[in-house]
Symmetry: D4
Subunit: 252 residues, 8 copies
């Protein structure tokens, strides 16, 4: 439930098209809807500006599909991440309008129409980091932010990065996905004047320790405009980038 849908609900009451009793019942679902195994936080958008997103890992396909269905029924855009094939199938069976993005392992449902607000760039150091970059891109686009994808611009061939420098300049925030040594955020951070959100990926030889090396590298960035999210957490990076882009584009 967004501020807009809340205002519409209250306007409907004012205009008489919704009885106070019916409105009450709908609002009574707040602060959350209890499914037994999950409590859906419908008014999260009201409180934090963006809707709750379903993290499907270690949930059963049935649990995820049920939560997805309830959130879809509330009329908002819905996103599920870390979705495997079985879970995607279960969601699409229940909500046919949803779209599965297999590389990004995400299922998205768009039900609202909003103007895009703000602009972010998403970089990947190598082709191997693309799945995480796409998770970020799908998330940001569902949240109505314009995304410029700049993939395979790692630091071992610096000219690739320097040739897209102009495209960096126009972004309100930049997401950088990199595995191995995770050096790209530092270099990007030194080139721009906007926040850089670094996403370590679990790409690399043995001593990458499944992304821990990149994570440590990014936390130690000598560029002070770099902040970091969890390994392979493209979703989280997009979430914060969207908030910054919206702020830069004016208002929540």
């Amino acid at each position: 439930m967004t501020k807009t849908t809340l205002l519409e609900l209250l306007a409907a009451v004012q205009s008489g098209s919704l009885t106070p009793a019916a409105a009450t019942e709908r609002l009574a679902n707040l602060p959350y809807e209890d499914l037994g195994h999950a409590r859906i936080d419908h008014h999260r958008a009201l409180r934090t500006g963006l809707p709750e997103v379903i993290y499907a890992q270690k949930k059963s396909p049935q649990q995820t599909a049920e939560i997805f269905t309830r959130m879809a029924a509330a009329g908002s855009d819905v996103l599920a991440t870390r979705v495997d094939e079985a879970t995607a199938k279960a969601i699409l069976a229940a909500v046919p309008a949803a779209i599965f993005h297999p590389q990004a392992r995400a299922v998205a449902l768009r039900q609202t129409t909003h103007q895009s607000r703000g602009h972010i760039a998403i970089l990947s150091a190598g082709t191997s980091d693309q799945a995480i970059a796409e998770e970020a891109a799908i998330t940001a686009e569902l949240f109505n932010t314009t995304v410029t994808r700049l993939y395979d611009v790692g630091v071992a061939g610096l000219h690739r990065l320097l040739s897209v420098r102009d495209q960096l300049a126009s972004a309100n925030a930049i997401i950088v996905c990199a595995g191995m040594e995770g050096a790209l955020p530092s270099v990007v951070g030194g080139l721009v004047g906007v926040p850089v959100i670094a996403v370590p990926t679990s790409v690399g030889y043995g001593a990458s320790f499944d992304g821990a090396a990149a994570l440590l590298g990014m936390l130690n960035s000598c560029s002070p405009n770099v902040t970091v999210v969890n390994i392979d957490n493209g979703f989280g990076a997009a979430y914060t980038a969207v908030l910054i882009a919206r702020a830069a584009a004016g208002g929540i």
Copy 2:
């Protein structure tokens, strides 16, 4: 050298108060000034919006003081972090107008006057986290951002946090400093709709491993608007928070 001082320089050339030769000489110092042991990045502000800051750790007092002096001579505001007593003394001997903040271990010199742009809140979980919170606060204030300090609002006494909820609502970005389990950013992140920058501090019993526990906690935050900086890195958190606040306040 900020965009403003660059414009003033070019205007001075236009108006004839500065000869092209003299302007050239000043610009020739770009892209950096080489002290042998350090290359000062004077045009960083031009490129990234905020001036370079001196990280004094493992530099000798003489090295730090020399870099500070050169940056001061360029007319900008100057900040040195991780300053011990001996280094502070060396800086203040060379630049008496600078001010030493012992709790924050920072030396700041204000030479410009700007309107404050944007507003951030800085929270600490406990009194023991205050030194890091102050490093963030001193940094943000030198960068012309309004700071609300909310200290000792840790999650074990939730009413303390809930009672300052209104003060959170007006901030463009929020910095949360916490040691031990580092839980505060997640709770704050669930209450607000702006980016939360989490700073793990090296406060806690043995298994805090000098802040690693808090760091891991914050990286794993279930609130998606949380990004993380290095342990005890109040400066870095402030840097990004200032960029966000400026964007929200309109323009760089």
Copy 3:
């Protein structure tokens, strides 16, 4: 063998319904029964108040089923944890009265009837933590403790937790299962005056390191009434919670 069954045995001797020779033989099984690969600690209940429980991991289905059968033959309630499909099948073939709880990966056999003593609450931060929470619940219920399940009450939506606060108040001990940053035990700990037993779960993105982040978070809890068990060890948490609930309900 519980204290009660021991008293019954001795009473049977006194009353003549059991010959001293037969009683001796039964007691001779103490202190343990040797199966070659395992030594069953039948008098553990006598010594510690609760019967031994079978940890099935890395045991063959045959080994687990054999131990289960012997313990069942001794007349006590029996519990096996970390049971996979093959092992469950082997146990149920041997002891048809046993019940398999697939989500909790546990097989339980109830043979005694006791009044429930004491009351605990079991919380999970998210739906993904439910398997571990259920392992705890099944264990506590077999040990005759009343369980209130409160699932998906994580700290990112604090109102969900605050709305169940009354249900926390009546528990003698509280188990909190959480992955990711593991912050929920600290928040719960600050709200109640009973021991909180924290169970880190292996839920989360890469830098959760399979539950290590949550474990560290919980060990560093700023709420002093929090103690911690191993990652995903719902059984151990239940065991201690049951002991506390029994003590609070009066006597062992």
Copy 4:
């Protein structure tokens, strides 16, 4: 402020010895008192049964002394842990009735008189663990719990432990402090039917990694009645042990 002092306050209002205005003022300090650097949680005892305790590490002596003084002024018993010489001096200068326990690094002030409720045993594996065991003992005694100290009963000389077995039997909860391999809690856990709270200590050769080895050992205990607190956290162990002992002794 404990429940008792609250009841006394209200009784004083009822009896007329305290004006409603004065009572209001005292209650108005709730939920906390803001010192700028710290927010004292005076009604914590009301909420959780035991008063807040001051963790002095990384606080300045002045900060700790000020918090101690305010809490003393509220009439309750006060405890500060992790107190160094300078801080102890500062506290005692402000509150001469307080007592410094140098081995336990704690300062305690007793202002109330209560009957002792419940009984715990505190074991140490070696003489080198004694400082942490004493922190636990001082804490529990200030919280009105009877303490039996059983020091230097480590597993390499099992007869030392077995000879105190009777003293274990009467405790409502047992705290076990051990460094090195941290094996003692498992052995004790197998002997008793009450909760065992394990405190890893930072005692040992290099690969103890400052207590991490003992911590891991205790978390992996094969005795299911063992829960664990942070390295060297005698205070936290005592806090939970006291709650259990009180429950066993009847009522909060």
Copy 5:
């Protein structure tokens, strides 16, 4: 090639049954036989008292079978460890007299007949540790040492260990296999006057970190007669235990 077979070879030369040329050729194989992918150290037994053993992990079945065959051809007893089903099949196809021990994942070939020398005991803390204990037992028996197996004698039920104390007393060396907290070697070490070789096993809940917790526990043993081998390395423990038992039994 053992000392004995070398003496036989030289005696054969002396007696004329072997020509010096033929003897030279056989000795020329020393110091090793080069298979391209492997260099078999035939005279290892001569140098170190026990023959080389094949570590099959990450070798192809063909490579392992070829090495096994060559070593068998040299007339000595042969042992391969970490043998999976496919590799066992390949070995037995080539050397039908060899025996596969599936629980121990070992293939052994006995070709010599020696009197057993010395006596060791092998303990396991739980049934789950049995595979590793059996790897040790198979190894020691092939090396002509008498083995007493004492399984499932973990510290949580101390009476099980104490009841086999007499059997410990007669061993020249003791191997203790334990996962979880790895406490058993310390307790055993305190009861006996012979070397205890501790083998951590990868048995346990999440924070056992695949045996690292047990490993650290054993390295930190407070019993000074405990030394440690790698996680799940039953073979290595047996090797050293055999050397000690032989020394105690007199001579190499």
Copy 6:
């Protein structure tokens, strides 16, 4: 594109066999060719002396095959590492002249003919390290360096290493692949006067932690001519060894 092919291109322009327009188009592909998911760095050889190599891990077979095809089309030798069966199939379908080396998990395509320059030796400690050693060997040979393979010369049978000492003496650089304790590079380093490049492999029992133990051992080598690459990174070791061998053989 190597320096040689660049010179040929310019010579072709000079001689009239290539129009300036055509040459321009070919050079215009520089600095890289953008496939959307990848930016191929064709002029890397020009800049660094050796062509870019495809790291196939976490790339789809289609992505790897497409990059391989484009690089083959540019006329240079092409190498892909970390190639699984499916990817090898996809590459060979597109570029039938390429050769798959299954043990080394590499696909190589030779299109140029160059004199071999320089000589390296590649050692493995055991047969289990051979896959990594072969990755290094295939790489070096494609880069026109002579390779001497010396496998299974680990330190537990020192005579095996000492017997190949002469073969070490003639190499310009030495690669040493070893798992377990990773001791071989130190011993080799003490015997020779050329750089030793150490490759830790993920071979060993539990506490090898998938090669981390060998990695740490090699980083701590007491032989100062040892430098280290990532775990199982035979390719990287070969790359640097080739550069050294070329330098020693005269010029780049």
Copy 7:
């Protein structure tokens, strides 16, 4: 109390020189003597063959001196390890016959006279490891074992080790102290047929992680006759080496 002194005591009773009452009193001190902070295990020698040794770290000088004095009073040889200057002073003030070995940080008191039994060699990889090697040597000598010291024979100059090979051959057990990569035990293990006890030392550059690298290296030794003790634990290595040497020399 050793077996010998026990026999003497009983003989004294038999001969009438000691009254049964007096003998009883002395034996009554068994199993241990309780000093409050410590329980001295006087009959440890009876049980395990060697007397208890005092680990002085984290004990106060007074505590250590008191324990030392009591053990000295019992007539046995006494050893304290990890002794700093202040503690040494306190011991020597109480027991002037004791001798302080500053490099080994040990205080030893010899009161018995025994024939030396068995022979061990102690190797150090470098001069920097000497303090730990000396702790082992002092321990073994007090326990009546002959020690051959072979220092600075690290693997980077293999000829140094090979030149002392004869001295290795006569030892019943070998202790190898090494920091950095900890490779020496593997090389030594391949040369000899007796147990090698490896002691990692905290010597090395940053990534030695205070001895953890050497520890891991030794645990992963490819020589199967290597077992390992804790970092810098020369005492523990000596203890086990002495037991082996005694066994080899015939009897306990």
Copy 8:
């Protein structure tokens, strides 16, 4: 003893200026000279091309000075690293011609005169890394290699690095010292065609873990011409760089 001095010695014998007996005595010192605590490897230069260097850490000033003196007496150039003030004083008292470089913590003695052979560049990311860079520079210069120092060229201000690109082009090998995220070697590696030796430094905020983050970053470099040495090991980097530069300059 270098090859040259060996040739001179033999020539002296040939010419009669040295008696065979005297020559024998001097050669008899080979393979090493035994000081009791150290065995000096005088013929290391003969075997490996460069003389042994003294690692002074954990050696006493007396031990280091004695080793230094003996090596000086042999006529070669001598270097001691990790030298503190007291050790420097002890060396200079014994060998007044030696020079102490306090920033590099090294003492060097030059006794030979050789032409410089080869050329390396040494880069540091920041001023704080300078001590380690200087250790490398002092080492390389003593070994007769030309050094270009390029300090404070970290990736956050890329133009600083790009402006020295020409100076990189002429080096035979490049050493890159960097702390924090350790990204500089990857960027440099992508710009040049010679080996890059990466030295992680212990510079950075908490999660640098004393250089471990930089170390991991460098091991995971996406530039394949990067190899890595231990944290803060400027000496080791220089040693290998010198070997490469000599090879490139022609011959050992």
